[in-house]
């Protein structure tokens, strides 16, 4: 078998240019699949990491029932609002570490003649736990009754820099929606999610935010569970508690990180597969190239095939030779394409250093296996044609 492989390789080397071109055809296909899959896979893991930085033991509750009824709040009857009291009730549930009320508004934050339009989060002290926030300077929104809205604000580092430059903002005042708030802290940088700067925000006590933005209802309650494995259980407890508090109606939506990640992960996987599929089309073109080249080779080498049969080669061995040639071409293309694809992925990574491009080892194995299989498939017809030749006719074809 090894000897037949050698014989096949020598035959390929006799037509270097032609062999190189068909190798190139497969290499382009494999490189395309490799690169595109690496980008897709890298993007997916990158975004997942961004999301999971808040932890998979966080449960979000939003007002309105979107999952089943689509548009929240259009259903007749009274819908109960999501309130700070709801958050307090949830905080008393077992296995709940914190239940943080969150409100959200967009406003211009002004100080010392400068201003900037940002998201303003109304939070409690527990938000530190939810968002894994760290305070760089001063302190965060103080603990205590969340219904008491002190006139204070905590700035994200981007906002702090934009408003105050290198000066310390601590103790200075900012104006948000007409109110004067004292800056009591600046958070550590959090980075970006999908281009949204988590550091270009302001945090104020939740009651302050509700007042400033004239809101009666929370934007969200974030529940942190003591352990990830208890999430399901706690979700049920939350549902029961809130349904009871809201007069028997499920007028809220509970989102777990796990569910969100799963939906998102699935979407990204489809994107990756689609993009990889486009690459697979070029692989198909490469396979047709090999089929063509091998078909031509069988025609040209008909007398040689007759000779081999005269010398005692079996049909099966003739099949093996031509299959081996096709597989060697495709496999060489697979190796070359994989290297080129990974090299290109490197280059892309230099352009976007944040994007962790990934080609998992099982992908590398799969790419090589696929290229070998492509060669095998492309070689079948020519090899069968070679084996079907009548040796006498083949010898005469000189």
């Amino acid at each position: 078998m090894r000897e037949l492989l050698r014989f096949a390789c020598e035959a390929l080397l006799a037509h270097r240019l032609r062999s190189a071109l068909s190798v190139l055809g497969i290499a382009v296909g494999i490189a395309a699949v490799t690169l595109l899959t690496a980008i897709g896979e890298g993007t997916r893991t990158y975004i997942l990491e961004q999301f999971t930085q808040f932890g998979t033991n966080v449960i979000g509750i939003n007002p309105g029932k979107t999952e089943t009824f689509g548009i929240p709040g259009v259903l007749g009857g009274t819908t109960h609002k999501l309130t700070i009291e709801d958050a307090e009730a949830l905080a008393r549930l077992p296995h709940v570490r914190v239940a943080a009320p969150v409100s959200l508004g967009q406003a211009r934050v002004e100080a010392e003649g400068r201003g900037r339009s940002v998201h303003v989060f109304g939070v409690s002290a527990d938000m530190v736990e939810v968002m894994k926030l760290r305070v760089r300077q001063g302190s965060f929104v103080p603990p205590g009754d969340p219904r008491r809205g002190a006139p204070v604000a905590v700035l994200g580092p981007t906002l702090a820099r934009e408003l105050f430059g290198e000066k310390s903002p601590l103790g200075r005042f900012v104006r948000i929606a007409g109110a004067r708030l004292r800056v009591i802290g600046v958070t550590e940088p959090k980075g970006q999610i999908l281009g949204y700067d988590l550091d270009d925000v302001a945090y104020v006590p939740v009651a302050t935010a509700l007042r400033l933005f004239h809101q009666q209802e929370l934007f969200e309650i974030d529940v942190v569970v003591t352990h990830e494995s208890l999430v399901e259980q706690v979700v049920e407890a939350i549902r029961r508690t809130l349904v009871e508090r809201h007069g028997g109606r499920e007028d809220f939506t509970i989102t777990t990180q796990a569910a969100m990640l799963e939906v998102f992960g699935n979407v990204m996987r489809i994107v990756t597969m689609t993009v990889g599929g486009i690459g697979a089309i070029s692989l198909l073109v490469g396979a047709i190239g090999i089929l063509t080249i091998m078909w031509i080779a069988v025609g040209e080498r008909t007398p040689e095939i007759g000779l081999l049969r005269a010398l005692g080669a079996r049909r099966r061995q003739v099949v093996a030779v031509f299959l081996a040639e096709a597989v060697v071409l495709a496999f060489a293309g697979g190796v070359g394409g994989l290297l080129a694809g990974l090299g290109l992925a490197r280059a892309v990574q230099l352009l976007w250093p944040g994007l962790p491009l990934q080609a998992p080892p099982e992908f590398v194995v799969a790419a090589l296996a696929v290229s070998a299989a492509v060669g095998l498939a492309a070689g079948v017809l020519p090899a069968r044609r070679a084996a079907a030749l009548d040796p006498v006719e083949a010898l005469r074809a000189d």
Binding site: E3, L4, F7, E10, A11, L13, A14, P303, E304, G306, L307, L308, R309, A310, L311, G312, A313, R314, R315, R316, Q317, P391, V392, L395, D398
Partner: protein
């Protein structure tokens, strides 16, 4: 030993069937040297291919060393060709991309002879045809006579008992041809059964026996020395010496 009994080889191409061999019964003893002559299209090559188990008779029986080969499977025939039969062709049929040595090794590659053994036997076979020093040359770098000698080395490297040559000197000048014929004679002297198809009376003269084919039948059987009769049988009417 070869025994042919009422061997037919018929081609059907839609219309009239063509009988390339039309009932040949012949016996060739082990160690014989037989020449096959006859006009173009008389069935010489077809007969050689049947003898070499490369082609199957349409009807009749062919026993090689007592074994009826018409009943054998494809793989068994390949095995026979590999181990018991050697072919030499007018057009040499060397593989152009391979060195002389690799060409001689070729049958052994497909018969699973280990590499060291292959090297050794190929060298011995090339030595025997006087081309050991050319073993690294490709066919294109060899003269016609040298190519045919490489082909003979390849045909004999498995030590077959039967050597079949189809116009082995047809493409060669008389000096190169004589060298090739001397080699064949030598192989015959060593005990191989030799069947040579030829147009050339000089070639046939070396054989112990000459079969003259006409329209797929044996038209005449002569001794190699009966060249005059041969000329008449071929209808050339050339006066003998």
């Amino acid at each position: 030993m070869i025994e042919l009994e009422e061997v037919w080889r018929t081609y059907r191409l839609g219309g009239e069937p063509i009988h390339a061999l039309a009932g040949i019964s012949e016996r060739i003893e082990a160690g014989e040297h037989v020449a096959i002559m006859g006009p173009s299209g008389s069935g010489k090559s077809t007969l050689l291919h049947v003898l070499g188990c490369l082609d199957r008779p349409t009807a009749g029986s062919y026993r090689l060393d007592g074994q009826d080969v018409t009943q054998l499977e494809d793989d068994a025939l390949a095995e026979l060709r590999g181990h018991r039969i050697g072919f030499v062709f007018q057009a040499y049929h060397l593989v152009a991309r391979l060195s002389a040595e690799a060409n001689v090794e070729l049958p052994m590659v497909f018969l699973g002879v280990p590499r060291g053994e292959r090297r050794r036997r190929a060298a011995a076979a090339l030595e025997a045809v006087g081309l050991l020093d050319r073993r690294r040359h490709r066919p294109a770098e060899l003269s016609g006579g040298q190519r045919q000698r490489v082909a003979i080395a390849r045909a004999t490297v498995m030590r077959p008992r039967l050597l079949l040559a189809d116009e082995p000197t047809g493409n060669l000048d008389s000096a190169a041809g004589a060298q090739v014929l001397d080699l064949l004679d030598q192989l015959h002297a060593e005990g191989i059964t030799l069947v040579v198809v030829t147009h050339d009376p000089e070639v046939a003269r070396r054989a112990g026996r000459v079969l003259v084919l006409r329209d797929g039948r044996v038209a005449a059987r002569l001794a190699g020395s009966e060249l005059g009769g041969l000329e008449r049988a071929l209808g050339r009417g050339k006066p003998g010496p």
